[in-house]
């Protein structure tokens, strides 16, 4: 009941004209950013973070979070109409969505994605209402060892639950830790790895890293070739779902929503993994698995429901613990810090208006997005016909102005370009960038908690397994490190077996 009363108060905050306007601006920008290939919601949030500097914290956060979940809706447009995922979490949508578009069913694919995203999003925000206070009060028992292990889990889980190579994800995280080491030691005040540079004494800000590694790097990749793609046209009257379509998709939406919420809760997994998993599960559960890959409406419903649900679910550990579960929530966490707010379990009590206003704004934002993606979908689809190169110029200039605005120094603009090149090379070397950004955000808290723990225990590592809570977290960290090793060994065994079977089938006897 407390949660519902707080939510009612949150609605009062979110419904003020200014906040409503910025929810609308946030979700519209998110929808556009999600629709533009080459720039994802995390990049969009990082690029637009400086725009929020003059705003009230609630207003700034409702806008930024609007970009985050708006991106999930927007990514569908490009996936279905151009067969290019607008953002990574829409990869699975592109497979079946574009096939449906080629069969003249683009409207139905967009409609089911919008309805699925809406229902799963509302379900996930409802879970957020009840789970965040519970997790937050539980986390009040945490002390330095638990915080260190939780931050470490956030990083190791990103590596083990991600979609690519776990080794490369760990390398990404280590690079992030190295970046975070630069500057003044938070406990003893000595300078570290600054090599005499005064500009580096205060360390490297999060924004040049995020804008460079996400924004500039993605634009460099998209600029490798002239963008061209045939946009399939869609009309409003094509968007009606028949009873048969709805019957086919309703359970896919429910399953996708649940999978998305669970994956979103886990540190490091995020909407892309959720969409992948929901698609695979739906293919197994479907009455017509042969349609998957050739235009399955339930495949689109499952993956779109899952990615939106995961985007909202990732807010739970971020708001309750101060631990971001995905790259987008890492940017949101950095925004909190830049706005002068201390994240962690006390956030809900110290900044109740901010947290509940933000949660209430998500209900409103999802309703706006449903309207944008049903009757207004053809209008947004027309944006895809603007040549991408015209947009690139604006995105790059706004990125660099944003980097300058953080500390009014050209040094940060240069750093942004350096990290843009680093991000580009990481993409081409197949090293995931989300662990790097997560590590940059989590490293200060992780280092302080580690050193405080060792100070309390006079150097003994036993402190990390002394209390049941820390022992469980330590086991989870070890588990997350062993998981990729186990899957590697299993994959090798399976490959060896397949090789033996193939050799036997080719043998003359």
């Amino acid at each position: 009941m407390d949660a519902l009363a707080s939510l009612a108060n949150g609605f009062a905050i979110a419904m003020t004209p200014t906040n409503l306007l910025f929810v609308l601006i946030g979700v519209t920008l998110g929808q556009l950013i999600g629709a533009l290939p080459g720039i994802g919601p995390s990049a969009g949030m990082a690029l637009l973070l400086p725009v929020t500097f003059g705003l009230d914290p609630v207003t700034a956060l409702v806008m930024l979070s609007g970009i985050m979940y708006g991106g999930m809706y927007g990514g569908t447009l490009t996936s279905v109409l151009v067969n290019v995922p607008g953002e990574a979490a829409s990869v699975m949508t592109a497979i079946d969505g574009n096939q449906l578009a080629k069969q003249g069913r683009a409207g139905q694919a967009l409609a089911v994605a919008a309805i699925g995203s809406f229902l799963a999003g509302i379900g996930s925000v409802t879970a957020l209402v009840f789970l965040t206070p519970a997790l937050s009060s539980f986390a009040l028992n945490f002390s330095a060892p638990e915080y260190f292990l939780l931050a470490l889990l956030g990083i190791t889980a990103t590596a083990s639950l991600g979609t690519g190579s776990a080794l490369k994800a760990m390398i990404g995280a280590t690079l992030g830790l190295m970046i975070a080491l630069i500057g003044t030691d938070p406990i003893q005040g000595t300078s570290r790895l600054t090599f005499g540079s005064l500009d580096l004494l205060e360390g490297i800000d999060f924004l040049p890293v995020a804008i460079g590694v996400f924004g500039i790097a993605e634009i460099l990749v998209s600029m490798e070739q002239t963008q061209s793609g045939q946009v399939v046209r869609t009309r409003l009257k094509d968007m009606w779902l028949t009873g048969k379509d709805w019957a086919e998709c309703r359970m896919a939406i429910v399953r996708g929503g649940f999978i998305g919420l669970l994956i979103g809760l886990m540190p490091g997994a995020g909407p892309t993994v959720a969409a992948l998993l929901a698609y695979v599960v739906e293919k197994k559960a479907s009455r017509h698995p042969e349609k998957f890959g050739h235009g399955a409406l339930d495949g689109v419903a499952a993956s779109e429901s899952a990615n939106n649900s995961a985007a909202h679910g990732a807010m739970i550990p971020m708001l309750a613990l101060g631990i971001p579960g995905s790259a987008s929530t890492a940017v949101l966490l950095a925004a909190l810090v830049l706005l002068g707010i201390r994240p962690g379990p006390m956030l809900l009590t110290e900044q109740a208006d901010l947290v509940w206003g933000l949660i209430a704004s998500m209900f409103i934002g999802n309703v706006i997005l449903l309207i944008m993606n049903l009757p207004l979908a053809p209008l947004f689809a027309s944006v895809l016909r603007i040549p991408y190169s015209y947009l690139v110029a604006g995105i790059l200039i706004v990125s660099l102005v944003g980097a300058y605005a953080i500390s009014l120094s050209l040094f940060n603009v240069g750093l942004t370009l350096v990290f843009g090149m680093v991000g580009y090379l990481m993409i081409r070397a197949d090293i995931p960038r989300a662990p790097l950004v997560l590590a940059v955000v989590l490293a200060p808290m992780m280092e302080s908690a580690l050193r405080q723990s060792l100070m309390l225990s006079e150097g003994s590592g036993v402190i990390f397994v002394q209390r049941p809570l820390s022992a469980v977290l330590a086991l989870l960290v070890i588990g997350s490190l062993c998981l990729p090793l186990l899957s590697f060994l299993l994959a090798r065994r399976a490959a060896r077996r397949a090789g033996v079977a193939e050799a036997l089938s080719h043998s003359p006897d």
Binding site: P50, V51, F53, G54, L167, K168, M170, I171, T174, L175, L177, M178, L181, D185, I187, Q188, T190, R192, L193, F195, I216, L220, M223, E224, Q225, T226, P387, S389, Y390, V392, A393, G394, L396, I397, V398, L400, V401, Y404, A405, L408, L410, V413, G414, L417, G420, M421, Y424, R428, A429, D430, I431, E447, L450, R451, L454, M455, E458, G459
Partner: protein, 150 residues
Amino acid sequence: MRLTNIIAALVLLGLSATVLLGTWQLPYWADFAPGSSFTAFWVGIIGIVLALSLLVTAVMDDSTEPHSFPDRSGILRIVALTAGLWLLVLLIPPLGFVTASILFCLFLLLGIERRPIVPSLFTTVIVVGVVYGVFIAWLGIALPTGPLGI
């Protein structure tokens, strides 16, 4: 991809060595608590372990997966864009942010993208208008100005 992985491993090895050597003179343990180089030492060690793991995996890898870098024209476009961005940063102090941005937009649209002149000029006006309206007029951020006063 094999060569890319070997280069990535060597770069990480170099960075890890830099972290270790750069913090060598700092205390690892100070009286009763971990010192300034404590975290740096372990991050450096983890970096070396991961770099060696990637190196061994890459050397033992006998697959023929191609690298994912673009062809010559793609690389030229990336180099031109990166050079343009660095030139923009260098031109900001003498010309001002807005003027340097105008030049960069025109270089990108006309020089790299080979777009028609009228839409390129129109785009440049819109971009500069957004930067001026949002960052200078609304947020009051003092962007560097040049001889023209903007």
